[in-house]
Amino acid sequence: MQKKLNEMAYDEEGVVVKIEEDLRQKIAGVGIRTGKKIKMITKEPLKGPVVVMVDEAKTSLGLSVADKIIMEV
């Protein structure tokens, strides 16, 4: 099933299938790219950011960024 990164539940894991073009370069440095396994660590309430785990590293992303990443879970 496909869903957006910010729609994933706590501790849910998924693989990135699509990242919006204009975002790709920006998040490449933190290791988020298509085909990568990502685990949701936490979501902050009231449209706050998400914290995800990529390669054993935790990275926090704003909601509108997480909104542009499509996951296969």
Binding site: K26, A28, G29
Partner: protein, 174 residues
């Protein structure tokens, strides 16, 4: 010789820097900016080598002003040698920055820092093989205890730029 210390934020770069340089550390603004950077000296190969601690950056596509300065410092020092400090437990994203620096044509030594943490996390890295593939020296280090740091320094002398094409070729193209 001038050496730039580059790497992601939180890879133990400043601990590394403190180990390399003596007490004579200068903290100042990079010209034309309000971003601080730290500079020091180490005595090696019979000369005083200037060591610059570049602000942490994830890539050479800057996303904020501190990263912009990191990139500017790299571009302003075309003749510098680079120590790229990589968190061994997060090696893949470290390689991303490393490849970008190699593509820019700089001679690099890779310090696989936090080697102990990587071991604790059960991550095994074949450093000699990695060195073969990349064509640049790769040295496991533990910044906090100082392990491997003198090996990194000794490699600085003979490094030359490598061709990213050759790396692609060794991996059978992309």
């Amino acid at each position: 010789m001038r050496v730039l210390l580059m790497g992601h934020p939180n890879v133990g770069k400043s601990v590394f820097f403190n180990r390399l340089t003596g007490a004579n550390i200068i903290e100042s603004n990079y010209p034309g900016t309000t971003v601080d950077y730290t500079k020091g000296y180490m005595r090696q190969f019979g000369e005083d080598i200037e060591v610059i601690d570049v602000p942490g950056t994830f890539s050479l596509d800057p996303k904020d002003k501190a990263e912009e300065v990191a990139v500017k410092m790299l571009r302003d020092n075309k003749d510098a040698k680079i120590i790229c400090v990589v968190d061994a437990s997060k090696i893949e994203r470290g390689l991303y920055l490393l490849l970008e620096i190699i593509e820019e044509g700089f001679p690099v030594v890779v310090a696989l820092n936090m080697w102990d943490t990587a071991m604790d996390k059960n991550i095994q890295i074949d450093a000699p093989e990695l060195e073969q593939i990349l064509g640049v020296p790769v040295v496991p280090t533990v910044g906090i205890s100082g392990e491997g740091i003198s090996a990194v320094v000794s490699k600085l002398k003979d490094i030359t730029p490598v061709d990213a094409d050759a790396i692609v070729e060794r991996m059978g193209g992309i």
